[in-house]
Amino acid sequence: MDEFIQEFLIEGGEILDQLDRDFVEFEKNPTSKELVARIFRAVHTLKGTGGTIGLKKLESVNHVGENILSRMREGKLSVNASITSALLKMIDVDRQLLATVERTGEEGDMDLSGIIQSLSAMLTAVESSPPAVPVPPVAQVAPKVGEILVERCAVDPVSVAEARESQRSGDSRLIGEILVQNGAVPPNAIQDALQIQSESHDDSVASSIRVDVNLLDKVMNLVGELVLARNQILQFTSNQKDAAFLSTAQRLNLITTELQEGVMKTRMQPIGNIWNKFPRVVRDLSNASGKLVRLDMEGSQTELDKTIIEAIKDPLTHIVRNSLDHGLETPAQREAAKKPPQGLLSLRAFHEGGQVNIEISDDGAGLDLNAIRAKAIEREILPSQQAAKMTDREIANLIFMAGFSTAQKVTNISGRGVGMDVVKTNIEKIGGTVDVSSVRGRGTTLKIKIPLTLAIIPALIVTTGGDRFAIPQVSLVELVRLEGKAAESGVEMIQEAAVYRLRGILLPIVYLNRELKLTPKPDSDGDGAINIVVLQADGRQFGLVVDGINDTEEIVVKPLRKQLRGISCFAGATIMGDGKVALILDIVGLAQRASLAGEASGHVPAAKEELAKADEKLESWLLFRVGESGKLAIPLSMVSRLEEFDRTTIEHSGNRQVVQYRREIMPLVSVADALHIPAHAVGDGPMQVVVHSTGSGSVGLVVDEILDIVDQHVSVARKIDNACLLGSAVIQQHVTDLLNVPELIESIAGQGRTA
């Protein structure tokens, strides 16, 4: 295809995008002269350039549009919705024409008479009321300086036109000179205008060039290879003594890193590139559905890798359409719900922890959780008992399942039940996560987290079973090494599940060699130490036990071929410094696999969800056992630490058991005694104590066994006639009593006083 046409296609696309935004802005702000001027110029460029390179249809359509705009600019035609719609339709036609040109190289035989007629109709409506003074069509002839002056309101258009007219009739002076000499404009305004003109000229030449994306991809790949080669060289440096070689390698290292950063930056695009089309989408949809919507966008400068931008474009558009169609109510409904008639749709993007977060929230009706639950049961997506047990959050996330829509009727916007599952799949495909939360009557928020880039990531290299594995640094929280005695007893078992107490919090432990079915290598250093890599997967932490921890390295992620793509534990592979291949662990996949293996019983999906994602709004509960079967829970917020005390360290003060704890005397309260639960046979093992600190000091609650920590919405199902208990609730499918800690301590203190 013709090089000029190619270039025009790109430029034209950009102009049309900008026009979309300007029009929506213009509707809100119809008196803005600047906006009309901008729109006019854009349409004029389309017409002019289109005509020059032989796109006659484009020229003829935009010619009519230009005429309308020129009237608007002169203030002879006031803007109204029908004009804007007609002009927007013209932009759509432009877009179709450009698409046809891109496909076929020609404009095709699209029938434009309809659109031209409807545009002309707008024009003749104006023409029929003859203007008082014939004003020459200013902008078509005004040179740039004049245009800038008019825009800045430094001069009235008529003077510019007059000056232009006299230029045409033989006046050889510059337009600025004429204007100054006619006294139409002060000289410094001309200076300013010239300045602006030259600046805008410089900008377009120097600040950016167009580069073929394929070329960028190629450069990116080469830089990836270079990073690998650099890593290999750096491995050699460790046993080299040649100073010159070492410093050269060091420089190579630095330059490669900088080059890599630079190339990554060339691929970064602001998320605004996608968002920019949303004002138009929102306008069209809200007009079609009779809703009033304000679109709020924050953080549109947040940058993302180009491939990711492309991957989230469709999902985001879908979510926005969904929010408009299902989420926001009509003005009447909103007023009935005592909300302002205008709905709010807000988009927010920001960087956090090496990831990009995107939040799409509306202040609409929120999700009808009961309807979703009912629908899920009706569609047999999940059995009714299970649906009853699921938390609100889990129910809300059902909207991401295939074939799910609770919309009362199918509209042409959405509601066909395809979509949200595709949204989820697409986002997960690029390593992102999506989560929905909703408050009935108050609105819905979708949170998307996506990685910044996919190509080169920092990773921790670990070994297990003689093989190396890379763990993306994003998931890494901390490293724990247990040696000697700690290694023998540090990891405790709750039935099949191993846990480690990390600063008093139970951390589920996953053994990498068991998950990957590797034969453990005999411990090479023979010290029996345990290496725990604490990882974060979707908001939940777990510890991964590996044989050895090597180093962190920048790795180039290469996808796995289809033969291996089904294994959820691996995110890809990379080439290490020594030229060998290492697999990259998929932490979320690994966590899911581990929890699946651990919970062979029925409630897998809910449990899996529970492990994979935790919600900050859920309360954490510490579960423990007292006596033979008494299961109790207290809010984790009341727990300062979990401690073990050797039974020999217990001393007595008055009739109370106490221990020396952190240079204070801490009274111990036996929960079993306080609740009059038959005492469990006292073993020789250490005493399990839950430390509860108040302003006046700490109290140790003696329990028989710490069971677990769960994140769950707990609703008290049954009140109990015992002041020390808040009631009973179902936690993890077991009836659990909720301990009223302040009351318990108070009652013991009371007993102490009376005794």
Partner: protein, 151 residues
Amino acid sequence: MSATQQQFCTFYVQGLLFGVEVETVQEVIRHLEMTGVPLAPEVVAGLINLRGQIVTAIDLRRRLGVADRRAGELPMNVVVRTGDGAVSLLVDEIGDVVEVEEKDFEKAPDTLSSTSRELIRGVYKLKKELLLVLDTQRSVNIGATAGNENR
């Protein structure tokens, strides 16, 4: 080369002579160090680094369902181009490039095991031995068969 002639790159797997069309072969290389993939279907021998490209290696012995190589016997790589990028086929020994005539072709006999019949497109009757034509696309396509239990 006349229209009825075809060139095949040949190799041996457990004493049998196999061939793939020369055009589909990217290269033939000696044994390369491999990284095993835990949980992978057993026909996947591992991943190799082919000049910066990560290539999946498929053990043809396992793919054909015959006994494993004895310990210490190193396989060779026949790297073939497939619809999903390059894949390496692990074979025992590399043969020559041979030219065959269309008239010598016959379909695989029905008495072959079902796995073999799936992978062997046919047989060329050479003077001294039989050349089994391997279907490379099917050989590397393991999603439907061996990979199942791991998915």
